[in-house]
């Protein structure tokens, strides 16, 4: 049971090639190809229709994108200004703290001094 292929000029096995061509034969009917070309062009037509429908929206989309970019820049500027103001307030708070602290200390120290005076008065001879 030996395999003796008939090898063609390009190294092809002629019988195998013939069998493969039979299996993979394209449709022979011209009507089929006309129909396929029609379907391809119809799909292109559909594609173009979608494209046309999208065109005005695409213009809006461009405008929308520009508006979004402007809004983003504005928001960023506002945020950075806000952050600067908050930083300034924080610095002001730190800077203003020493002037109010002594007052508070003086206020806190006042009852202590009165108590001391009373004690001094009581224990004094």
């Amino acid at each position: 049971m030996s395999i003796e292929p008939r090898i063609g000029p390009h190294g092809r096995d002629d019988d195998l090639t013939r069998a493969l061509r039979s299996l993979y034969a394209p449709p022979a009917d011209d009507a089929y190809w006309a129909s396929l070309a029609g379907r391809i062009m119809a799909r292109l037509g559909g594609d173009a229709a979608v494209e046309q429908w999208w065109q005005p929206l695409a213009r809006f989309a461009r405008i929308g994108l520009v508006a979004a970019a402007v809004a983003l820049v504005a928001a960023r500027i506002a945020l950075s200004r806000n952050a600067a103001r908050e930083t300034a307030i924080a610095y002001d708070g730190v800077i203003e703290t020493p002037s109010s602290a002594p007052l508070q200390l003086a206020k806190d120290a006042a009852p202590g001094s009165a108590r001391d005076a009373t004690l001094r008065y009581v224990i004094s001879p």
Binding site: M1, L16, L20, S22, Y24, P26, L36, M41
Partner: protein
């Protein structure tokens, strides 16, 4: 059996004419299509669809998938037409696109039908010859091959593409295409061996 088979034997799909006037005409059509002339593109479709189908059919498992790949391929080609340079070979460019569409359809189908094992080699049309022993054995033999080996042997032996063209279409080195062809032929000869010895 081979006498009967020869009745069904089809010649491989010829390339669109490559003479000078035909190429000039094709280039004119491409330029016109690039400028939005849809009739020009329709003519390109008519010129190239058979060969495009042959490429797709070599890669896909069924006639229906090949049809889808051809349609997808032309659609992609139309969208990418402005990137095509007219001095290129339109056929080779289109075949790469169609092959890519066919490979993509094959991948999607394998994922979708992973449980039902659809990677079988369906015949283009259901006709009485489908019952033919050789066809049955050949289909079974092709099923044993990897998808790439099957594509390579069909593109080379049936459609007459060179190893370089096949490598370019399938995205594999030329040497791999050559080796796939060798293995595919050997495997099919083994499958059909006893039928061969009967003649």
């Amino acid at each position: 059996m081979y006498a009967a088979l020869s009745l069904h034997t089809a010649q491989h799909v010829p390339e669109p004419s490559t003479d000078w006037s035909a190429r000039t005409r094709e280039r004119d059509l491409i330029v016109a299509a690039q400028h939005g002339d849809r009739d020009a593109f329709a003519e390109l479709v008519t010129l190239h669809q058979r060969r495009a189908y042959a490429v797709a059919r070599a890669i896909t498992a069924t006639h229906e998938d090949a049809e889808d790949a051809v349609q997808e391929g032309f659609l992609h080609a139309y969208r990418a037409l402005d990137r095509f340079r007219p001095e290129q070979a339109f056929g080779a460019w289109l075949h790469r696109i169609v092959a890519n569409a066919a490979l993509d359809i094959g991948r999607r189908r394998r994922v979708r039908d992973a449980d039902t094992l659809s990677d079988s080699v369906a015949l283009p049309f259901r006709d009485p010859a489908e019952q033919d022993e050789l066809r049955r054995r050949l289909a079974a033999g092709l099923e044993e091959l990897s998808q790439r080996q099957r594509s390579v042997i069909v593109l080379h032996d049936v459609e007459g593409f060179t190893h370089g063209e096949i490598g370019s279409m399938l995205g594999i080195p030329e040497g791999t295409a050559r080796s796939d062809l060798h293995h595919a032929r050997a495997a099919l000869r083994r499958t059909l061996g006893d039928l061969w010895s009967q003649r």
